[in-house]
Symmetry: C2
Subunit: 357 residues, 2 copies
């Protein structure tokens, strides 16, 4: 595959947004008293082309992959944790399972390249429990990216393949979903996300690189210089998001860019999670700027580059709980707020009903 399949993203439906805005003014409350919830309902109405929007059913897509750069000492955890967490997602023991359940959100788990994925999950149940989105099939069995410190993370064809698999996940598994949340897990993926963010926003590596899972000062300094060196050596072209993925990307990040593209094409709002999901959103918007209109913020992450991403995407976070876990945890929490906005919008009586009894 040499290029992405055609992308068609509809414009926001201004008539639906206008009708929603008029409805807001008629509801049984002082005008403006639900604050940002009012604007959010109107915004989602425009996305869904429905003056009474709904975010249900909502699903978090948690994309998981190994990163070759994990071998370079940029994370507090070994790469094998990625396989362990893949199993935790399936057994309901990860944070995103609990927080999604608490917020009435489904979760699906996509393996974009976890070397010990089938072994960790159990080969006999792997196909039932995991959506197999693995890009690589290599003799040595390592299906994650190559070490971006030593060379390109992936080939151009692999980057395109990963995006297309993400698009396919939405088409195949989420045909009726009305809201998608982006989630991810992959030891060392904040290194890839920082590199992507630095390139796509043209900001210094030092400004957009954080401690990820929580590395110490030495590893943090190493992480920053490694990213800066990789960008200098590979010189990815910010005008070509596929090239950025090729040089410094991750398979799950490419996959989430694909999920974002396909959701937007279907008028499905996409709730961005933290720093790694934010990198995927930056790429999706660079691939097609019309996608920007279908993005919704969740939280403000501790990762410093997340602020830069949100500014670039024109998104304002709903809350800041000092979270930095990923998995889709922030998106799941935020979907609770979006549901509240949509249900208040759809279910409230009008002020005329109340005054004219």
């Amino acid at each position: 595959m040499e290029r992405l399949n055609p992308i068609d993203v509809p414009a926001i439906d201004e008539d639906a947004a206008q009708a929603a805005s008029e409805r807001q003014e008629s509801l049984a409350k002082p005008p403006g008293s639900l604050g940002r919830l009012e604007a959010l309902a109107v915004k989602i109405a425009g996305m869904q082309a429905d003056s009474q929007p709904s975010i249900d059913p909502a699903t978090i897509v948690t994309a998981v992959a190994d990163h070759g750069v994990a071998d370079a000492g940029v994370s507090a955890y070994p790469s094998a944790v990625t396989g362990g967490m893949l199993t935790a997602f399936l057994e309901g023991g990860a944070a995103v399972n609990a927080i999604a359940a608490a917020n009435g959100v489904e979760t699906i788990v996509c393996d974009f390249g976890v070397t010990d994925g089938p072994a960790a999950v159990g080969p006999e149940r792997y196909d039932q429990a995991v959506i197999d989105c693995r890009i690589r099939d290599r003799p040595d069995g390592r299906v994650g990216t190559d070490n971006l410190a030593a060379g390109p993370a992936m080939s151009r064809e692999e980057a395109i393949d990963a995006i297309e698999r993400g698009r396919s996940v939405v088409r195949t598994y989420l045909p009726d979903v009305r809201c998608v949340g982006l989630g991810e897990m992959g030891i060392a993926n904040s290194t890839a996300a920082a590199a992507i963010t630095a390139v796509m926003t043209d900001r210094p590596v030092s400004e957009v690189t954080g401690r990820g899972t929580g590395v110490d000062d030495d590893a943090y300094a190493h992480k920053r210089s490694l990213i800066a060196d990789a960008i200098e050596a590979r010189n990815p072209d910010p005008a070509d998001p596929i090239d950025v993925l090729r040089c410094v990307g991750g398979f799950e990040i490419a996959g989430l860019a694909g999920v974002t593209i396909e959701a937007a094409a279907r008028r499905v709002p996409v709730v961005v999670d933290g720093f790694i999901a934010g990198a995927a959103a930056l790429l999706a918007v660079a691939i097609d700027d019309r996608i920007r209109s279908y993005l919704l913020a969740s939280h403000a992450s501790v990762e410093p580059g997340h602020t830069v991403q949100l500014a670039s995407l024109g998104l304002e976070p709903l809350f800041d709980h000092g979270m930095r876990l990923g998995e889709g945890t922030g998106a799941a929490l935020a979907i609770g707020t979006y549901r509240s906005a949509c249900r208040a919008h759809g279910e409230m009586a009008t002020i005329d009903d109340v005054l004219n009894r």
Copy 2:
């Protein structure tokens, strides 16, 4: 009744909080990566004396009452709207109904003095649908407070009676609840709340008085001078919260103070809503400072005095959506976040589980 029934509020269970804190450290995530959600779960564990706390079942108590000061032109709406909203609460057409439902929270509605309550609701269904907490039974049928601009809002006995009815609501209707949210409605009640806040926090009226439902500049200036005049004329004693209620209170505010007292006595966390609920929380804490430990913040209201209240209560809001509706809408949203914190705490696998497969 000359004084409140005895109040016994247990101390926070430090052992349960410690056990919860240790559990947090063991969970399958980088330490601290769920940010504030971790501390919130530990805090609720201490309140509930349970190292694996839960906020379910959770109920919003929406207390409703008329205010005599509504006659003085301090609100954008006539007092009759209060009865209309009482009906809306019962029919599920108010914002709090939709937002509570979106967040898995029950609602109950308490009439602390709505003159046309039974008429608005329909006399035949009033007793089934509303918890009758009316304090007054007057020949003229007006069961709200007196105009605080012209004299005391209520008698000392009435203030005590309203608090005790609030306590009774929790005992009688919510014996098994694990989280209570404070909600209210009553045209002109932001005037009473501002007066209470000014007295209890010793801050200028101008600093703690906002536009409520959205009055224009002239009415806003009138509202501030009316409150300042009432405080000067009645000179309520901030060391005597019953006296503050007598001079400038509201029946639903007193009732919510009672709900707060009884919930704390039962180790039930109380989620404070906006500005009017905040005034009730200030009074409850002044009645018994041990209650402070059982309060949880929700949002940051547009009302300027809400910031002053939260600082006085030692609470940090979870989010700021520019809301100013009351009813318990902010509390309902926040309960979704508290549920997420508790469920992640209770349901996640440990890091040992993930690493030692």
